[in-house]
């Protein structure tokens, strides 16, 4: 095959992908493959992939804040923590059914989003980053010091949920739970991105003043992004709590927030397929290179920074990411 025909195959493929209809087919096939994986995979692989789907949800949630609305959030783990602790406390200390705690977790993380977002979203982005960083740490330290959250040792013995009489306890169960949640997260992200609200986020990200001159409530629109992002975190946290059956403050450190942010940035902010790839890279890389021992984190760090810097060079200094 000559090189020219080779490239035409690629461009044909790209053109073919441009059609929404064809894209749907690709997505369906990918979802079907993801559904079949548990039939062939062992427990280890299943566990790693479950984790990858879990990070996909978190990264997609943060992507709404960072990618769509262009707000740098360094304390995203806080929302994840609020969701996890809400479910953990309600089930283990009050004996409430897990499924009923989900709305409560969503509500609490939304309130947390409003509390932190309301006063700070008037600030320009660099200040916001610092405030969110502080907020993330505050939530963790509160969880560490309150009695109801179990202090430094956290909550243990969170009950496994049942689903139509089946107790969700095995790896395969949670694989499907997180896969379905990740698909739902993609769907919601996609719909939001291509809506009036999604465009408003993009306008504000591109030029705040011009967006305001077009009648867009800058602060209101950002708060919307923040609260929706918080909800994603809350739901993910809720399911995380019952999957692990134990949570401790050390799960929700600043490093966790940075890791989620890394997933968003790695794959390309604002793009759903990119964010999924980023989340998978985040989880798979340390596993694949387990043989290198502790060296693997160094390799991971180097490859992350090199991919980030090539990304910056590709889009040119000072240019903004396209959505």
């Amino acid at each position: 095959m000559t090189p020219s025909s080779d490239t035409s195959v690629i461009t044909d493929g790209m053109n073919w992908l441009q059609h929404q209809h064809n894209r749907m087919i690709v997505l369906m096939v990918m979802a079907a493959v993801a559904m079949e994986i548990p039939l062939v995979a062992n427990n280890y692989i299943l566990e790693v992939l479950t984790n990858a789907w879990f990070y996909t949800i978190l990264c997609l949630g943060l992507n709404i804040v960072v990618g769509y609305a262009g707000l740098l959030d360094l304390g995203y783990a806080a929302f994840f923590a609020v969701g996890a602790y809400t479910t953990g406390i309600l089930t283990s200390q009050f004996g409430i059914n897990f499924w009923l705690t989900i709305p409560a977790a969503v509500f609490c993380s939304m309130v947390a989003g409003i509390i932190i977002g309301g006063p700070t979203l008037r600030l320009r982005s660099d200040y916001l980053a610092i405030v969110t960083l502080g907020f993330g740490e505050i939530v963790r330290i509160i969880a560490r010091n309150l009695e109801i959250t179990g202090g430094a040792s956290g909550l243990i013995g969170i009950e496994r949920p049942t689903f139509f009489g089946i107790e969700l306890s095995q790896g395969i169960h949670f694989y499907y739970v997180f896969l379905l949640l990740a698909i739902a997260a993609c769907f919601v992200s996609y719909r939001l991105q291509h809506s009036r609200l999604g465009r408003a986020w993009q306008y504000v990200r591109e030029d705040e003043d011009a967006a305001e001159a077009m009648g867009i409530n800058r602060v209101g629109v950002k708060l919307y992004a923040y609260v929706i992002g918080a909800m994603f975190g809350g739901v993910a946290g809720s399911f995380f709590a019952v999957k692990m059956t134990a949570i401790s403050p050390e799960t929700f450190t600043f490093a966790q927030s940075v890791l989620i942010l890394l997933g968003v940035v790695l794959g390309g902010m604002g793009k759903i397929p990119g964010v999924i790839v980023g989340a998978f890279a985040l989880v798979l890389f340390p596993e694949v290179f387990r043989g290198f021992g502790s060296m693997r984190m160094l390799i991971f760090a180097l490859s992350c920074s090199s991919s980030c810097s090539t990304d910056l060079r590709a889009s040119g200094p000072g240019t903004k990411h396209e959505g």
Partner: protein
């Protein structure tokens, strides 16, 4: 009653008075201009009107309501749209998406509507697209709607800004130096467009301009400011023959002698 009334407007930047007790009115359905030498405070006046600056004193009434110290987005919603002196397009987005931003304040679908694509949300999206296409057709850019705004030639980018402002369905359109950077032919087209907007859409226009020829041709009332103060007001002929205006633009004879 005038559509826009400005009374005793004062704006200070750390003690320096940029606008000094400025007062003027814009009547419904007219084309009015605000002119003055460089640094006279014209753009500052625009920024006060549209809520980007907070004036230190004075009153602004738009359509009978006080809009002083209101946020820019509420002022746009009340029916005042603006263009910027330096183009402020959403460069990496398409022309169509840029214009669709104007309809934001005339629609209301939220997150739930977007996720579930309710019938109301679909109708609204349809409406946003239709109005945006009408606005693009009005400025003659419909065939470029899928292009990225940042890749268009300068004159076309200006038109996108106009279409975007029109999509907010304004009562009053504020144009900040619309002729800047345009060549002779483009200026003639611009005059056409300004008259078109007023005559066909019935939108009142207030413009800031350096290009005297353009101002004299289109405006029915001209307010001249210098050092933030109003020095003259009237029709093109009246203003042109006003000694104070001539002095502001060309300098007084006394100053000439020093040179």
């Amino acid at each position: 009653m005038a559509l826009l009334e400005v009374e005793d407007l004062v704006l200070r930047f750390s003690g320096l008075e940029v606008i000094r007790e400025l007062g003027f009115t814009v009547e419904q359905g007219t084309i009015a201009s605000l002119i003055g030498p460089n640094g006279a405070g014209k753009t500052s006046v625009f920024n006060c009107l549209t809520g980007f600056y907070r004036p230190d004193a004075g009153r602004i009434y738009f359509n009978g309501h006080s809009i002083i110290r209101k946020k820019p987005h509420t002022i746009t919603q009340a029916g005042m749209a603006r263009t910027f002196q330096n183009l402020r397009l959403f460069k990496s987005m398409t022309v169509m998406e840029n214009v669709m931003s104007g309809m934001h304040c005339r629609t209301s679908a939220g997150a739930l509507g977007a996720v579930f694509q309710t019938p109301a949300q679909r109708r609204e999206e349809e409406l946003i697209r239709r109005v945006s296409e009408e606005c693009l057709a009005f400025v003659g850019l419909l065939e470029k709607k899928t292009r990225h705004a940042g890749n268009l030639p300068y004159g076309d980018q200006r038109r996108v800004e106009w279409a975007r402002a029109l999509a907010t369905k304004p009562k009053l359109l504020l144009l900040d130096e619309p002729a800047a950077g345009l060549n002779h032919d483009e200026k003639l087209e611009l005059i056409e467009l300004i008259l078109h907007i007023r005559n066909e859409l019935g939108i009142t226009i207030l413009l800031i301009e350096h290009d005297m020829g353009l101002v004299m041709k289109v405006s029915e009332k001209i307010t001249v400011i210098d050092y933030g103060k109003k020095i003259a007001e009237g029709t093109a002929v009246e203003v042109q023959n006003n000694p104070k205006v001539i002095e502001a633009y060309l300098g007084s004879e006394d100053e000439e002698e020093f040179l």
